[in-house]
C-alpha cells in the first residue's frame, strides 16, 4: 500500500495493479464524498469553512494517535493503552505547567513526549523482552496507566483557570492562520509518511508485519524495531496528550477514556489490515476524517442523540465491510492464479 505513491513517483500508472491499489484509498474518498453531499443537502451549514475547520480541529488528535496505532498494527500488534497514556501524560504535564507557569509550551511538548516514550518503552519491553502478547500487555497497562493517573493526582483535576495562557494557546493559537493543532497533526502525518516509506526502520515495520518469521531470517532486527514502534506510539501519545490538555484546557482522571477503540477504529476504517503488513498514512488520515465527518454530520442533520451512537457504530461497520469487499475484489484482480 505504502509503496504506491513512491513507486508512482518513478513511472506513472503503467501498472494496472498500482492504479487499483490507489483505488483502495479512493473508496474511502468516495464514501466521504457521498456523505458530504448527503449531509450538505440536509443542512447547508455543513459545507461552511468554519465547520470543516471544526472537523479538522476535532480529528487532529485522533489523527496523531491513529497514526501511532497504525504503526503498531502494521507490526501485527495493538496498543490498547493509548487512551491511558494520553490521560497520564496530560495529567503529569498539566501538573508541571501549573507549577511552572512561565515554562515555555515547547518544553511542555517535549516533556510530554519524553514521558510518553517511557510509557511506550514499558509496553515495548513487556512485548519484546517479556514475551507478552501485545493485546495482553497493553490491556494490562491500560489499567495500570489509568490507575496511575489517580495515584498521581489523588483524584484532583487540573482546570482551565489554573493553566497558564501560553500553554492554552499552544493548541488553539493560529499564528500562521491555521490553528497550531491542525498544523502539528499535518506535520506528524507527513513525517510518519516519510518515515514509513523512506527509511529502513520504517520499511522494517512493514517487513515484520508482513511475515515476522521471514523478517527475522532475513536479518531484520525484529526485537529492536518492535520495541521502537511501541516507543514511537508512546511519544506520539505524549504529544497528543499535551495537545489534548491544551485544547480542552483541562486534565482529568478520565481524560481520553476509551480513546484506544477510537484510534483502532480510525486505522481500520482507513484500510489498515488488522492482520498486519499493510496500511498507509493517507488511508488513516482519511479514516479519521470519515469518523470526524460522521460525528459532526449526525449532529448537524439533527439525529436524536440517542440514535447517534447506534448510527455511528453502523456506519463504521458498513465502512469496514465495504472496504473489505473492495479489497478482496482488488486482490482477485491483482492476478491470483
Amino acid at each position: 500500500m505504502a509503496t504506491t505513491y513512491s513507486a508512482n513517483d518513478e513511472k506513472k500508472g503503467n501498472n494496472l495493479f498500482l492504479t487499483l491499489v490507489r483505488f483502495r484509498e479512493l473508496s474511502i474518498m468516495i464514501i466521504i464524498l457521498l456523505l458530504v453531499i448527503l449531509v450538505s443537502i440536509r443542512n447547508p451549514a455543513f459545507l461552511s469553512i468554519e465547520n470543516f475547520r471544526d472537523i479538522l480541529l476535532n480529528i487532529s488528535i485522533l489523527v496523531i494517535v491513529a497514526l501511532a496505532q497504525t504503526m503498531v498494527i502494521i507490526t501485527r500488534g495493538i496498543d490498547l493503552s493509548v487512551g491511558s497514556m494520553i490521560g497520564l501524560v496530560a495529567m503529569m504535564v498539566a501538573f508541571v505547567t501549573v507549577s511552572f507557569p512561565e515554562m515555555s509550551p515547547l518544553v511542555a511538548v517535549l516533556l510530554g513526549m519524553a514521558i510518553g516514550s517511557c510509557l511506550g518503552a514499558f509496553n515495548g519491553f513487556l512485548i519484546t523482552m517479556g514475551g507478552v502478547p501485545p493485546i495482553i500487555a497493553t490491556l494490562g497497562t491500560l489499567s495500570i496507566y489509568r490507575g496511575l493517573i489517580f495515584v498521581y493526582s489523588g483524584g484532583q483535576w487540573v482546570n482551565s483557570y489554573e493553566m497558564p495562557d501560553g500553554f492554552r494557546a499552544l493548541a488553539k493559537g493560529a499564528p500562521l492562520g491555521i490553528p497550531n493543532i491542525i498544523l502539528i497533526a499535518a506535520v506528524v502525518a507527513v513525517l510518519v509518511h516519510l518515515f514509513l516509506n523512506f527509511t529502513r526502520p520504517g520499511r522494517d515495520i512493514y517487513t515484520i508485519g508482513s511475515n515476522p518469521d521471514a523478517a527475522k531470517v532475513a536479518g531484520v532486527n525484529v526485537t529492536r524495531t518492535t520495541f521502537m514502534v511501541y516507543v514511537i506510539s508512546g511519544v506520539l501519545c505524549g504529544l497528543a496528550a499535551v495537545l489534548w490538555a491544551s485544547r480542552f484546557e483541562s486534565a482529568q482522571t478520565n481524560t481520553a477514556l476509551g480513546f484506544e477503540l477510537q484510534s483502532v477504529a480510525a486505522s481500520v476504517v482507513g484500510g489498515v489490515s488488522i492482520l498486519g503488513g499493510s496500511g498507509s498514512v493517507l488511508g488513516v488520515v482519511l479514516g479519521a476524517f470519515l469518523l470526524g465527518i460522521i460525528e459532526n454530520a449526525l449532529t448537524l442533520v439533527r439525529i436524536s442523540p440517542f440514535w447517534q451512537l447506534a448510527a455511528q457504530g453502523l456506519l463504521i461497520l458498513t465502512a469496514v465491510i465495504v472496504d473489505s469487499a473492495i479489497s478482496r475484489r482488488l486482490q482477485r484482480f491483482g492476478g491470483e492464479s
Binding site: 503529569m92 501538573f95 517511557c118 502478547p133 495482553i136 490491556l139 477504529a265 473489505s324
Partner: protein, 355 residues
C-alpha cells in the same frame, strides 16, 4: 514448536498455580480483615461477579478458537434495554425476557455471520458492533430507566437460597459453568474449538464445520450476554442503557488470566473459572481494606501481565535458550533506565501540587 509443547505442559500446571494463589489470597485477606471470612459477606461479594462469569463462559470458547468478542457488554446492555423497554410498554416480563434472549442470539448471529461467513477479523467486527449494540441500547431507552420489575423477576438477581443466602445468580452460573464445561470436554463441538484455534484449515479438511462452529459460539456469546443483562437488571431492579460499560475488558482479563491463550488453541474452562474466583476474591479483599477502584485496577493489570511474563521468563530460563547477548542486555537497560526516569519524575512532580 517445542515452545508450544512446554506451553501446553505449563498450562496443565497453571490451574494449580491459580489454586495456590486463591489459597494465598484467602489467607492474606482473612488475616488483613476479620470481615473477609464471613459467609454472608462472601455471598454478597459473589453476586457482584456473576454477570461477569456468565459472559466469561462463552468468551472462553471464542478465545480458544483464536477470536475475540468485544461486544459482550454492549449486547448485554442492548438486550437488557429491550427487555426494559418491552416491560414499560406493558409486555409480560417473562415474554420480554424471552425476547431479550432472542435478541442476544440475533446479535451474536450477526457477529458470527460477519466473522465466519464474510470472514472479517473478529476484532474488527466486534469493535463495530461494540458501538452499534451500545447505541441500540440508548436508542431503545434514551434517557429513561426501565424499572418496576415484579419481585418474581428480581429474584433472578437478588434472590438467594438457604440460610447462608447462596445467591440465585450463582446457582445459575454454576449450572451454566457445568454445561459449558461439558460442551468443551465431552462433546465433539468442544474438540472442534481447539482444532479451529490451532489450525482452522486442517480442521476444515478433516470435516470440521468451521463456519457453523464459529457461528454457534458467537451466538452463545450473544445469548449469555443477554442472560447476564437479565440477571443484572434483576439485581438492580432497573435497566439503564449504560450498564456494564467497559465490562468486556474485565471478561477478557479473566479468561486470559485463566490461562487461555489469546492466540487460540489452548486453555481450560476450570482455569478461567478459577481466575474469576481469584479476581473476585482480590477485588473484594482490596475493597475491604478500602483500596479504591483505580488501585485495584493497577493490581489486576499487573497480575494479568505477570501471569504471562513470569511463565515466559521461566521457560526461557529452563530451556537455556537465553544467550549472553549484549544487545539484549542493552535493550533491557535502556527500558529500565527510561522506566526509572519516569518513576523519579512521577514522584517528584506530583509533590509540586499535592502537599
Amino acid at each position: 514448536m517445542t515452545s508450544k509443547q512446554s506451553l501446553g505442559d505449563f498450562f496443565k500446571r497453571w490451574e494449580w498455580l491459580l489454586v495456590l494463589l486463591i489459597f494465598l489470597v484467602t489467607i492474606v485477606n482473612a488475616r488483613l480483615t476479620p470481615y473477609f471470612l464471613d459467609t454472608r459477606n462472601l455471598m454478597r461479594a459473589t453476586s457482584d461477579f456473576m454477570e461477569l462469569g456468565l459472559m466469561m463462559l462463552p468468551m472462553v470458547f471464542i478465545i480458544i478458537t483464536g477470536n475475540i468478542d468485544l461486544s459482550v457488554a454492549s449486547m448485554m446492555a442492548m438486550c437488557a434495554s429491550l427487555m426494559g423497554w418491552l416491560h414499560m410498554q406493558g409486555t409480560n416480563i417473562w415474554v420480554a425476557m424471552a425476547a431479550a434472549l432472542l435478541l442476544g442470539l440475533l446479535a451474536g448471529f450477526l457477529n458470527g455471520y460477519l466473522v465466519a461467513r464474510v470472514k472479517l477479523p473478529s476484532l474488527v467486527v466486534t469493535l463495530g458492533t461494540f458501538a452499534f449494540y451500545r447505541g441500540m441500547a440508548y436508542a431503545l431507552l434514551g434517557d429513561q430507566a426501565a424499572r418496576g420489575y415484579p419481585e418474581s423477576f428480581t429474584f433472578l438477581g437478588q434472590g438467594s437460597i438457604g440460610s447462608i443466602r447462596f445467591p440465585f445468580s450463582a446457582v445459575l452460573f454454576i449450572i451454566f459453568a457445568v454445561i459449558f464445561s461439558l460442551i468443551l470436554y465431552k462433546l465433539k463441538f468442544g474438540r472442534y474449538l481447539y482444532v479451529i484455534g490451532n489450525n482452522e484449515e486442517a480442521g476444515f479438511y478433516a470435516g470440521v464445520n468451521v463456519v457453523r462452529t464459529k457461528l454457534l459460539i458467537f451466538m452463545m456469546s450473544g445469548f449469555m450476554s443477554a442472560l447476564a443483562g437479565i440477571v443484572l437488571a434483576a439485581r438492580f431492579g432497573s435497566t439503564r442503557p449504560d450498564i456494564g460499560t467497559g465490562l468486556e475488558l474485565a471478561v477478557i482479563t479473566a479468561v486470559v488470566l485463566g490461562g487461555v491463550s489469546i492466540s487460540g488453541g489452548s486453555g481450560t474452562m476450570i482455569g478461567a473459572i478459577l481466575a474469576l474466583v481469584l479476581i473476585g476474591e482480590m477485588r473484594f479483599g482490596m475493597g475491604l481494606i478500602n483500596i479504591p477502584g483505580q488501585g485495584q485496577n493497577i493490581v489486576i493489570g499487573f497480575l494479568l501481565i505477570l501471569s504471562i511474563l513470569i511463565p515466559h521468563v521461566g521457560r526461557e530460563l529452563t530451556s537455556g535458550n537465553v544467550k549472553v547477548n549484549k544487545a539484549m542486555v542493552g535493550k533491557t537497560a535502556v527500558a529500565l533506565i527510561m522506566i526509572a526516569l519516569f518513576a523519579i519524575f512521577f514522584f517528584w512532580s506530583r509533590t509540586l501540587l499535592i502537599a
